[in-house]
């Protein structure tokens, strides 16, 4: 009891806290005695002699033994050690570590049990000699904090949209996006390049809005058009092609919504797909707020797959169950908030806490959830609340569907700036190759252009949450029409100079080959509904088939997790699939056969056709000579297959410049 009294003395000045803390202190006391008897004679273990790593050596110890009371907003004894600066701040009793001198660091004394009155951690086994030796070496080495980037209280984008007006200058640009960007260029002393040629623009805008290559006829008629507004006209034409638009953008949504024809969970009813509903929603350009409300609080079986999540047979921890999946996915997909850390413990990389994740998960649960921290039940029930309580409350007495309905309202509330920011940021990133905020799922990060972001978000809301409106805004801008930036961006200090080249997605790659050869996919897993118009040039597009070895190699994700951005990076394994995989070879061989049957058997005509269809230009004389050398005077199935392969591998084919 002596220990208890002594320890309490330290808290006297915090009168309001005595009651709460004394429970914990009592535990300290009782454990402390026992431990002291064992370790009383022990002196400090020597520090390990090697260099220690925070990430590999120290973080596991702190996370397992200390975070429960000293991280993520919990500051027992006024002390937190989740960041280096918190650690250096010490506790209410003064410094806790002396960098460079572990022997005199309070942290070491308490974990080693040198002070019988305060032993840490107060519960469970004592730290091992090895762990203490690591901590000592770490302190002696000056507390290196490698691996985990220390984010010194980053500037956070506020919840509400900031009211912004576009700059007045340069006045010659009617599209506000351009006035924002060209003022930004002026501010950053960046040259303003001329916009791309008609040919480059046309290929870019076709692929970006509809995912298809323009046909030679479409290219010719566009190039021949002398209307100064022809670029705007083609944008309107493409956006009005609701089928092509839906067939392109559905892959973007499938990645985000984890929707696929196959995947884990389907085997025993643990998952449902939403393809029919999703296609229709995109085809009709459903307002985005209504779209999201339907996904969060479905009114139809056809749209409930997203919020139901993925269930594997067997037992799973609460953190893996559908209510928590729903919380994580609603936060990530629609709000750009990563709750994955906070689903298990208070996050140590941002401000989200366990109760935030559980509070949201609880809205999707039939029975109230008990808080579980790192697989340990906390003995208290989770709250029922939305991520930002200032947006509104959720009636804890309401049944699950009504709570979900309320989450849908709060998510899509105009007062919730993250909602509109998240989607316009995703659209910008898809078109420009780099988001206004990166990573795309950390919407609280600072944007490189917060005014433009908030203006786009506000503009999106004012235009009825119309995704096509925002796409139109962006692709009709001169900004979108800037030349592709060929150097790799620096993620730490990103400067916008223009769009980045984009690799064709797996689906675009397949469809682009089809545009070249006229051979489309077989065995679609989805039938286009009656009444949707057809296009004579276009057959079964690649999104409608199951993922195969080639589309996987080209980055079609398996959709077990939310994917906000696919891997675009060429890899050796992918190149192997392209170089000797049967799928591509057979696809091209069929294409060659079809071309031989449908275009004139003259090598020059075939070469011209493939160039025009594949990379929207005529061959240069040197290219023509080479192609003729390969194809001879009369192309054969064999050499034409090889020529198609060469074009399909060509960087001009594989990238959207």
């Amino acid at each position: 009891m002596h220990i208890r009294l002594r320890s309490l003395r330290g808290f006297r000045c915090h009168r309001g806290r005595i009651l709460r803390l004394s429970v914990c202190v009592f535990v300290v006391a009782s454990v402390g005695f026992a431990v002291y008897e064992i370790h009383a004679q022990n002196s400090l273990p020597d520090p390990v002699s090697r260099n220690v790593s925070y990430l590999n050596d120290i973080h596991p110890i702190l996370a397992e033994r200390c975070y429960k009371c000293h991280a993520g907003g919990k500051r027992k004894g006024g002390f937190q050690l989740d960041t280096r600066s918190h650690l250096l701040d010490g506790s209410e009793n003064g410094p806790v570590v002396k960098p460079g001198n572990s022997a005199e660091s309070r942290l070491v004394h308490v974990v080693a049990g040198l002070d019988p009155e305060t032993v840490m951690p107060p519960e469970g086994e004592r730290l091992t000699t090895e762990q203490i030796a690591l901590l000592r070496a770490w302190i002696d080495q000056g507390l290196p904090w490698d691996g985990v980037e220390e984010q010194a209280e980053p500037k956070r984008t506020p919840l509400a949209l900031r009211s912004v007006s576009p700059p007045d200058e340069p006045a010659s640009y009617p599209n506000p996006v351009d006035r924002f960007i060209f003022a930004y260029f002026a501010e950053h002393n960046l040259p303003r390049p001329e916009r791309v040629s008609d040919g480059v623009f046309l290929r870019r805008v076709y692929l970006d809005l509809c995912g298809l290559l323009p046909s030679p006829e479409q290219t010719q008629s566009f190039l021949a058009d002398t209307d100064p507004h022809k670029r705007d006209k083609i944008v309107e034409t493409l956006l009005a092609d609701s089928r092509a638009y839906a067939e392109h953008w559905i892959s973007f949504w499938n990645d985000l919504l984890r929707n696929d024809f196959e995947g884990t969970g389907y085997i025993d009813g643990g998952r449902k797909h939403i393809t029919e509903w999703l296609f229709q929603a995109l085809y009709e350009n459903m307002p985005y707020d209504a779209f999201v409300r339907e996904l969060i609080a479905p009114t139809s079986e056809k749209s409930e797959g997203f919020i139901r999540g993925i269930v594997w047979r067997g037992d799973s921890a609460v953190v893996q169950q559908p209510p928590m999946q729903a919380a994580q996915n609603v936060a990530q997909v629609f709000l750009g908030i990563n709750l994955k850390c906070a689903s298990c413990h208070d996050s140590f990389i941002d401000h989200w806490r366990l109760r935030d994740a559980f509070g949201l998960a609880n809205c999707f649960s039939d029975k109230n959830l008990e808080m579980v921290r790192c697989d340990t039940p906390q003995g208290k029930m989770a709250p029922i609340k939305f991520l930002w309580e200032e947006l509104g409350t959720i009636d804890p007495a309401a049944p699950h569907p009504q709570r979900a309905q309320r989450v849908a309202e709060l998510t899509t509330s105009p007062a919730n700036g993250y909602f509109a920011r998240t989607i316009v940021n995703r659209l910008w990133a898809r078109l420009m190759g780099w988001g206004l905020i990166e990573p795309l799922d950390k919407i609280e990060n600072e944007s490189w252009h917060p005014e433009l972001l908030d203006w786009l978000a506000q503009d999106f809301i004012e235009h009825g949450y119309d995704v096509k409106h925002t796409l139109r805004r962006i692709v009709m801008s001169e900004t979108y029409q800037l030349p592709a930036v060929l150097e790799a961006p620096n993620p730490k200090h990103y400067v916008f100079r223009g769009p980045l080249p984009k690799r064709l997605t797996a689906e675009q790659f397949y469809d682009a080959i089809s545009c070249m050869t006229g051979v489309w996919q077989k065995n679609p897993k989805f039938e286009i509904p009656d009444g949707v118009p057809t296009d004579d040039r276009v057959g079964v597009r690649a999104w409608r088939i199951s993922a195969d070895a080639l589309t996987r190699a080209l980055g079609r994700p398996n959709r077990e997790q939310v994917t906000a951005r696919r891997e675009e990076q060429p890899t050796t394994l992918q190149a192997l699939e392209l170089q000797n995989g049967t799928l591509l070879h057979e696809f091209l061989r069929e294409g060659a056969k079809n071309l031989l049957a449908t275009v004139p058997q003259d090598a020059q005509a075939v070469i011209e056709t493939i160039f025009q269809r594949g990379i929207q230009r005529s061959p240069l004389p040197e290219e023509l000579t080479l192609a003729r050398e390969l194809l001879g005077t009369t192309p054969t199935e064999e050499n034409l297959t090889d020529f198609l392969w060469i074009i399909a591998m060509h960087p001009e084919f594989q990238y959207v410049y």
Partner: protein, 478 residues
């Protein structure tokens, strides 16, 4: 020239932007998702350079293979709870180790083995094989919020290829057009590490050469000529005249890398037809057997990680829901000789010391208990009160209370027995239990990888053993 370029519809200025040399690091920086290793400072001297996992897919009963108990022959009217093993025990090259009849070839090489009898599979409730397999192969239980990488991908990412012309992660024998195929796909992946580290699949080892040869019907000459034309055409393309482009360069580099692999001398290793007939025949018990032969050949040319599976398919192979005894006898014929040959032939070539071989399975089986004795789960198989037919005789339920893992080479003890299970039902672990965290830690440690190695995904560390807590069992090493 100017005139010609006009017809291209692509103007020089489209590609004019401040161009800089594309470097790999700049490329990596393009991808925020790319994991960054925080390499452990602690240097672990590797005992092995490569790992071969021989996967007994479907649940290999310990009491029928490496942990034989009292043998009770079949007779009509026999009560299942009387039967602990349906095969007699046989001696091995090690005095204190007996294994099960039908594994005579492996018995002869047990003096090179460390036998773990106490692998404890996790408690995941109502059994789904693929879920346990996911757990075994990644150390994490699905579903996961980030895609967990396969152990082969972790090794490929951490150590890289031994020979750049041989894929670092080779997966032999599993097809995915089977039941639970999607669940299998979910862990046969590099996950968040990125597909560069993913598996190179060889579903049929007898046609492994097909995986590295030109597409069917294409001669090597044509393949070479196609590549040559490709290079020349790209070189003459207008885009090559406009500065450096990191995207284009990385695409071309990847195609050159794969071309090099497809034309390298190492690719001969994939072609089993060049193996002497008697050796080929000796291995050729099955696709698994040929997979072992292929594994040996790939080790010789510098493979880093290879998994050879008996192949998982629900209710097939080791997944004996009935007729267990008869089927297990057949399975032993399938695996016994090839495994022993793999051990011996690697040894003869001086490779065994630096190659760690692991025989493992997602869990074991028993005739009575489904799950663990203290944590039974829903039964999936009816077991009759007395057996009336031979098909009732065998281990038909899924058992997670113990399981056998065999290690060869790679610096582990020779002729060493680890862990003890009870001699009476439930035949479960009584000493030295080892879970997947410590088993993985031991495998990683052997390869010189700290079990605390972490990769950063979405700003947080993802450890190669759960929470970095796996501890190698040092007593297993020589």
């Amino acid at each position: 020239m100017q005139k010609q370029r006009k017809t291209t519809k692509v103007t020089r200025r489209d590609f004019l932007a401040a161009a800089s040399a594309a470097t790999l690091s700049a490329l990596a920086a393009r991808y925020p998702k790319k994991a960054v290793a925080a390499e452990p400072e602690e240097k672990i001297e590797p005992r092995a350079d490569r790992l071969i996992v021989l996967w007994m897919a479907g649940g290999m009963a310990h009491t029928e293979t490496f942990d034989p108990k009292r043998y009770t022959p079949f007779e009509v009217g026999l009560s299942p709870d009387k039967v602990l093993s349906t095969f007699p025990a046989i001696p091995t090259a090690v005095d204190n180790i007996q294994i099960s009849e039908g594994l005579e070839s492996i018995a002869q090489v047990m003096d090179r083995a460390t036998l773990i009898r106490t692998y404890m599979a996790a408690d995941l409730g109502f059994i789904l094989h693929s879920r346990h397999q996911y757990h075994w192969h990644t150390g994490y239980v699905p579903p996961q919020t980030v895609a967990a990488p396969h152990i082969g991908a972790v090794i490929a990412r951490t150590l890289g290829p031994l020979n750049p012309d041989v894929p670092a992660f080779i997966d032999i024998g599993q097809r995915f057009n089977v039941g639970e195929g999607e669940e299998l796909k979910a862990f046969h992946t590099a996950g968040f590490l990125g597909s560069e580290y993913g598996p190179f699949f060889i579903s049929d080892p007898s046609d492994a050469a097909g995986c590295v040869n030109p597409p069917a019907g294409m001669t090597p000459l044509r393949f070479e000529s196609r590549q040559d034309f490709f290079r020349r055409l790209v070189a003459h393309s207008p885009i090559m005249q406009f500065g450096s482009d990191y995207q284009r360069e990385s695409l071309l580099r990847s195609l050159e890398n794969s071309y090099r692999l497809l034309t390298s001398p190492a690719k001969k290793a994939f072609d089993l037809s060049s193996e002497p007939k008697e050796i080929y025949d000796a291995y050729n018990t099955s696709r698994f057997g040929l997979g072992c032969l292929l594994a040996r050949r790939l080790c010789e040319v510098g493979a880093r990680f290879i998994e050879v599976t008996t192949e998982y398919e629900p209710f097939k192979h080791w997944d004996t829901h009935e007729n267990g005894h008869t089927r297990t006898a057949d399975l032993k014929k399938m695996v016994d000789r090839p495994i022993a040959m793999l051990v011996k032939e690697l040894e003869e070539r001086g490779l065994l010391d630096r190659t760690l071989i692991v025989i493992a399975s997602e869990f074991s089986r028993d005739m009575i208990t489904e799950g663990k004795p203290d944590k039974p789960v829903k039964d999936q198989v009816e077991v009759p009160a007395v057996m009336t037919e031979l098909k009732h005789y065998g281990m038909h339920r899924h058992f997670t209370g113990a399981g056998s893992v065999v290690l060869f080479g790679g610096g582990v003890n020779k002729g060493f027995l680890y862990g003890k299970t009870s001699d009476e039902r439930p035949c479960s672990t009584v000493e030295n239990p080892i879970g997947i965290e410590d088993l993985h830690a031991t495998l990683y440690y052997a390869l010189g990888i700290s079990p605390k190695t972490a990769y950063i995904v979405e700003d947080r560390p993802f450890y190669v053993t759960k929470d970095g807590q796996g501890k190698p069992r040092m007593e297993l090493f020589a």
